[in-house]
């Protein structure tokens, strides 16, 4: 079964969703990511969903869960590159993902983590 790759850059993890996210893939990602965070003692996670053009309520919740779980493990999560259609869908579903930090692209997401890391 395919899985979503998690790249390590120093103490930051980069997750790039390149395929259609189906439910099992999302559950697996949550598993893999938490394992990776503890193993690498990462301080930040950047999730790039710019290739994702469709979401449902389950995927929306998984995104929120990934962010919440990482925060508990002391890693800041930034969600980057959400497509307009995805943003509108999530808002219409009533999932505005409060507490999840967002950025326009990976570069700005990384900057956001750097700013935080300095303090």
């Amino acid at each position: 079964m395919d899985r979503i790759p998690i790249l390590q850059m120093a103490r930051t993890l980069l997750v790039t969703v390149q395929v259609d996210m189906h439910d099992q893939l999302a559950v697996r990602l949550l598993d893999d990511l938490t394992t990776m965070i503890t193993k690498t003692r990462a301080r930040g996670v950047v999730i790039d969903i710019s290739a994702l053009d469709m979401v449902d309520s389950f995927i929306g919740r998984m995104i929120a869960d990934v962010a919440a779980t990482s925060r508990i493990l002391d890693a800041q999560t930034v969600l980057v590159g959400m497509q307009p259609a995805v943003a509108i869908t999530l808002v219409e579903l009533g999932m505005a993902l409060p507490g999840v930090r967002t950025a326009l692209d990976v570069e700005r997401g990384m900057e956001m983590l750097d700013d935080h890391g300095d303090h």
Binding site: G81, P84, I88, A103, L104, G109
Partner: protein, 286 residues
Amino acid sequence: MAISNNRIIQVLQSSQVQLLADWIKALRATATSQAAAVIGDAELQAQCQEFISLLSAAVAGGNFDNLVEEPWRPVKEFLAGVSRSRSRQGFSPSETAMFVFSFKEPLFANLRRAFDAHDDAQLLGEMWGCLRALDKLGLYTTEIHQQAREELIRLQGEEMLELSTPVIQLWDGILALPLIGTLDSSRTQIVMEALLQQIVATRSPIAILDITGVPTVDTLTAQHLLKTVAATRLMGAECIISGIRPQIAQTIVHLGVSLGDIVTKASLADAFRIALKKLGHSIPVS
């Protein structure tokens, strides 16, 4: 009973010149609006001439009771074209219908002149049938006139929707969206999509929603604004709402709508200033 319409055909064909002259005079006499008065002689003459020739062809080929049949189709198509162009030129519906109705008088005058000697029942029958057909054609032009108007209104509505959502780039990384007019669900959807598309296209981290031109804010409008702001935030950009007038601020508080932690500014200038500051530009204090 099938009525042979040969007298009407005869008149339509033999006294065409006289008919045309009489008809145009009648048309000119009934013109009341500016548009009807200024229509060119050449254009009017061409339209009248074509109608007469099409009508005589239709009268020769069919009866007066069923205008849906084939011989009447060219007449109706021609009238539809005339009606559409007149509705665009600003003719009133009754003036458009008068184009057909005013043809009765010259037609009957010429019929009387041609068949004065034997004023029989058959002529009356023919005239009656012709009268009904002309009435139907007149109503048909009014109907098409109405349709053309409605289409125009629909198109203008669509255009307004497009015109009313310009997303402006104020600065490198700062977008502004001045909203004018009432915010309903369909408009909010278009506004939201336009804004989000522009955020992606220009990679702008800050968007200013200016509601100076929004006349009233109710719970639904506030809800729409909140949705737009939430979607913008999900994309990774920040939204500032500006141009909230005193009455609107009062309404929002009275309605119990919480704008949460959304940054609001009184004027677009203030919003622009804070946006520049957030991007790290220094602005001289005024």
